[in-house]
């Protein structure tokens, strides 16, 4: 797919800017804090309706403006020319449109523009907490199966509600000064007239348990499926980049074990685990079981990657993951996604740079940000469109 142009209005530090992408590779060149990453962020928003840098739309809207507008002209081999547009408002309301038609549900918009993003922050995939890896897999899933955005949102909503209920029950229990015994309060719901308020709440907890298990199982099964497909790709890329000196293994560590690929079995395992942790949940007043506690483990030569080796080796791992992501999206979508490289190329050594560039060639439209061109291969520079970014404006060349 090919993003022909991008238009920004009151987005971050851009007041009004259009960009035509005239080559398969575009280099955004400029000093720090000029708006290079902001531009990539606009593309990310058109793709995922989400930014990895902020969850508050207010941050995305230019200071003192009421609304930000992003639109893009995309060409897809499968569906031709498409116009995507997104309006963000200070009051938090958003609107999205595809070819000028407003979309009421975001799932109808997601998955139109596919991209893989690679920035220096991605080292957090190795070094950061489990939530970094969950976000990564979730972002990939939304691109491959847009309905997953809804699946995940439902799970998170059930989780928030259940946590609120557990907190209330804990508070009431602490006040009553007795040890909570769940079995005695959640048994009979049909006899409502004799139930106290807190019994009613406790009996509704079992409904939230059931909802958590249903919604959570959907999340787990989809995560397991995508990771299963990613494993051989990432491991192969890693072998190739490290010239077979290192062996990467990647495994999904779901909080609720996936014993066999059946929703019913998984839901039952889920409920059993909730039951076994119910005392701890009451003491802590929060949900301890479910995919919000999943992790993904990377090992290199049988050692957890976090503890293994140098920053360079960790970069190799992240690069392998990104290349695997690129390949998987291409396999599933049937055409190459965009690649956004934020400051990352200069951080790779020459061998890894070449590996990446060889893979990209001209097939993947690539937008690269950098503060200087020194690290780039000359041939490569010739084939690229270079745009100079300065204080929220683009100029064709640096003067």
């Amino acid at each position: 797919m090919y993003l022909r142009s991008l238009n920004l209005r009151h987005f971050r530090n851009y007041t009004e800017q259009s960009v035509e992408f005239t080559a398969a590779k575009t280099i955004l060149l400029g000093q720090n804090a000029q708006g290079k990453s902001n531009l990539l962020e606009a593309v990310e928003l058109l793709s995922a309706l989400k930014s990895h840098r902020t969850s508050r739309d207010r941050d995305l809207i230019q200071t003192d403006a009421l609304a930000a507008h992003i639109s893009g002209q995309l060409h897809r081999e499968t569906s031709g020319d498409l116009e995507l547009s997104l309006t963000l408002r200070a009051n938090g309301r958003r609107s999205v449109a595809l070819n000028g038609v407003a979309m009421r549900r975001q799932v109808d918009f997601l998955g139109t523009l596919n991209m893989v993003q690679f920035s220096s922050l991605d080292l957090d995939l190795v070094r950061g907490g489990p939530e970094c890896r969950r976000h990564w897999v979730d972002g990939l899933l939304v691109q491959l199966e847009p309905i997953y955005a809804h699946v995940l949102q439902q799970y998170n909503q059930v989780l928030r509600q259940r946590n609120a209920l557990l907190k209330t029950l804990k508070r009431e229990n602490d006040r009553a000064g007795n040890l909570f015994d769940r079995a005695s309060t959640s048994s009979s719901t049909s006899d409502s007239s004799s139930n106290s308020a807190s019994d009613l709440e406790a009996s509704s907890l079992s409904l939230w348990d059931a909802q958590l298990a249903v919604a959570g199982s959907r999340v787990i099964r989809r995560r397991a499926r995508v990771i299963q497909r990613l494993i051989p790709l990432a491991e192969a890329w890693h072998r190739s980049i490290s010239a077979s000196t290192e062996a990467l293994t990647l495994s999904y560590l779901p909080n609720v074990e996936l014993l066999e690929d059946s929703p019913e079995v998984l839901q039952q395992t889920f409920l059993d685990k909730i039951r076994s942790r119910s005392t701890a949940e009451f003491h802590q007043g929060t949900t301890l079981v479910g995919p919000h506690r999943d992790d993904i483990e990377f090992t290199i030569n049988q050692t957890p990657a976090r503890q293994y080796g140098s920053q360079g080796q960790q970069r190799t791992l992240v690069l392998a993951l990104k290349l695997a992501e690129l390949q998987l999206i291409e396999d599933v979508i049937g055409e190459p996604p965009l690649l956004l490289l934020d400051d990352v190329l200069a951080e790779l050594d020459l061998t890894r740079q070449n590996q990446l560039l060889e893979t990209i060639q001209d097939r993947f439209q690539t937008i690269i940000t950098t503060t200087h061109l020194g690290a780039f291969d000359a041939q490569w520079l010739d084939a690229s469109q270079i745009l100079y970014v300065k204080a929220g404006q683009l100029v064709p060349e640096e003067f």
Binding site: R105, Q154, V158, Q161, T168, S190, S192, S204, Q211
Partner: protein, 197 residues
Amino acid sequence: MYTRPLARLIEHFQHLPGVGPKTAQRLALHILKRPKEEVAALAQALLDAKQQVGHCSVCGHLSADPVCEICSSPKRDDRLLCVVEDSRDLIALEKTREYKGKYHVLGGLISPIDGIGPEQLNIQALVRRVSQQSIQEVIMAISPSVEGETTTLYVAHLLKPFTKVTRIAFGLPMGGDLEYADEVTLARALEGRRELE
């Protein structure tokens, strides 16, 4: 910019749902242009509505009488009961003119985040109604959000010992809202209802 009483009026309008600063200003300036009698009538209507409209003692729908028109109508089928979140949804269903049974208004959905548990809702009265009358079918017409789903399951669980419980079919699984569904969609949803296991 605004003289005190005008500023106060604008501020009150702004607290209304769906009214922003611009609309609030327009409404306030409009009020000032109207004859005094008309404004007095509006003010009186506001007070009357607030003072006189309460909840029907049977179903919980908004009503100026102790028992609402629907509950007291001999033309409505006593054997059918439709459970809705609030009066807005009841009105939306009434507009379809498809439904001839009676209603029960819960007054909200179970939502621990907002401090709403089953005991805050009009559920005990519903159980009493269903256990004491001969009702053949209770239709759950609740939006399929996470909160709506939990409330539906909760109520269904309580009512099942007494009667058949069904739910309306939603064509919009993605947080479809009853209030915004058009009449044709709603009528179809009502028709395609299914029994809850």
